[in-house]
Amino acid sequence: MSTTTAAIPYEAGLARADGPAMPRGVARLRWAVADTLTITKRNLIAYTRIPESLFFSTLQPIMFVLLFRYVFGGAIHPPLGLTYIDFLMAGIFIQSVGFGGIGTAVGLSEDLQKGLIERFRALPMARSAVLAGRTTADLVRNVFVLLLMTGVGALVGFNFPNGAPGFIAACALSLFFAYALLWGFAVIGLAASNSETAQVMAFPILFPLIFASPAFVPLTSMPGWLRWFATNQPIGAVINAMRSLMLGAKYVPGSTSGHVLVALAWCVGLLLVFAPLAVWRYRRIS
């Protein structure tokens, strides 16, 4: 068999130095932002075309508000004469953005499975854009979900007990928390071998955190150990801070600033753990 391998003109490892270079500094940052926006847009378009995610982003949150308001609400008695819908809003926000995060895990693992991430990795785009674009899209989706739930909540009796500033601050806090949580879901999505596994992995982590919390019921009926867990786990801490902000300090024992600080510490802590972990996972995909 004859060999036709052409003469090899380059020393191995001694490659050319000219040619189109990637930009550096500010220009490179601009690329990274542009790439992130491109991926964000792609994910947002996809959300409007996948019936499941459309359902989870629109009908399901509305159904939950109505379910708790009219079906369970009457049997649950919030402290200090609060109406149940006022009590509910913080909890149901976190429940919605939390379970919505499963979509982040599923979406990323699908991208991996279908070879899209391979394509991205061979493109001259910012390495960070796939994860940043995914989490940004999910943040945008969460803003939409909160607006929708606020609208429905207002229709069924939620009346902003602590005024607009407190409510907006509470929403901002829940979005920040959701964003930190999304990076955790990104880790799961990248670690799972397929999207079904991603879903199965994400659900049991989220479920106890959301339901063993003050999200839907006052803690007074829970046994002591559970009450301790519900108060001190991250979702409990964030919900307490949100209630303190959107309902008023008197409804949650302790100062608003104290609750908010604890909640922010959780958000920052989760972000500091999960974001590098997700980036690390992404880099070592093979």
Partner: protein, 346 residues
């Protein structure tokens, strides 16, 4: 002369055990199509993934237009296009949106992307489907879109990883025509394939890979010359008769025949003449073949000629395995010209 792609002694082991590449070297001259030919699991895709910066080699060097695929990965990515065997397009986006996304991620200006995608959609016969989500596309349409996406930024070097696996013959010929046109425009192409016919039709040079090594290199003509231009298949009622007939036909063809199950395969240079001779010989011995045909050599035949053994891709096909010469061999799937060893995804 510049080489579009060079692989120097690439090695890659997965999980400490599976050796995907065991020292692969080859060079692709600019403006030519180079075919990496081999069965599933030979290491073709691993080589492509290393050369497209997706994967780092354990050792060895890859160069694309002279740029190192590890140390200068950023530069390499501005020069290449990749279309994979998975048809990596976003099925929730429309065809046009997919191309826009890839164009924007290549940092092309909006108007440039818009013009280019219209051009490509037209060229790939996707204009009518351009505003439909890809999930409504057929397999062939997805594959065409995948290749179109690889071309948005007018890459100088194009990697096509099994661009036609799983496609029907008609779509396959479409894709071939399109690859051929590209090279006319100066693009260099590295093509991986399991189909000898595909490599034969498209590639100027071929490297045959098996178990992570290049086991042969040359032009398609050189490879086939080593093999005989065509293969004569003579089917017989049973394996014992097949072995007897193989002995009978020992000196008739270009090479000695091989027996696969009940079929005698005879590589020949001059098919029709040898066919007559074979029939005459069979007749003299009162034998009637159950099947008789002249066909193009397949990848399996190349492997047989090179390694003396079959490819291992059709291991699943237990039902057709028939013990011969004391060891079990497997009958190849019906081998029309260029038949696949295994069309399924890896």
């Amino acid at each position: 002369m510049t080489n579009a792609i060079e692989a120097h002694d690439l090695k890659k082991t997965f999980g400490g055990e599976v050796r995907a590449l065991d020292g692969v070297s080859f060079a692709v001259e600019e403006g030519t199509i180079f075919g990496l030919l081999g069965p599933n699991g030979a290491g073709k895709t691993t080589a492509v993934r290393i050369l497209t910066t997706i994967l780092s080699p354990d050792s060895g060097t890859g160069l694309v237009l002279g740029y190192d695929v590890v140390a200068q990965a950023d530069r390499v990515r501005t020069l290449i296009g990749l279309a994979g065997q998975y048809a990596a397009v976003d099925e929730n986006l429309t065809g046009r949106e997919n191309l826009t996304m890839v164009g924007r991620l290549n940092h092309l200006a909006r108007d440039v992307v818009a013009k280019r995608e219209t051009e490509l959609l037209e060229q790939f016969g996707l204009t009518d489907a351009s505003d439909r989500p890809v999930k409504t596309y057929s397999g062939g349409m997805r594959r065409r879109l995948d290749v179109a996406a690889a071309l948005v930024a007018r890459p100088k070097v194009l990697f096509l990883d099994e661009p036609t696996s799983g496609l029907d013959p008609h779509s396959r010929v479409d894709v071939w025509g399109m690859i051929d046109r590209l090279v006319g425009e100066g693009t260099s192409v590295l093509l991986t394939t399991q189909y000898l016919e595909e490599a034969d039709t498209l590639a100027r040079d071929i490297a045959v890979v098996d178990h992570g090594r290049v086991i042969a290199e040359g032009t398609p003509a050189q490879l086939k010359a080593d093999l005989g231009a065509t293969v004569l298949d003579v089917g017989l009622p049973d394996a014992e008769l097949a072995r007897q007939v193989a002995g009978l036909l020992g000196s008739v063809g270009a090479k000695s025949p091989t027996v696969v199950g009940t079929i005698v395969e005879l590589p020949v240079d001059d098919g029709p003449r040898v066919a007559m001779e074979v029939l005459r010989l069979l007749d003299q011995h009162g034998l009637v073949p159950t099947t008789f045909r002249i066909r193009e050599p397949s990848l399996d035949d190349v492997f047989m000629a090179l390694t003396g053994k079959r490819t291992e891709a059709d291991d699943e096909d237990e039902t057709t395995s028939i013990p011969t010469d004391g060891k079990r061999r497997r009958r190849r799937a019906p081998a029309a010209a260029g038949a696949s060893m295994d069309g399924g995804p890896r």
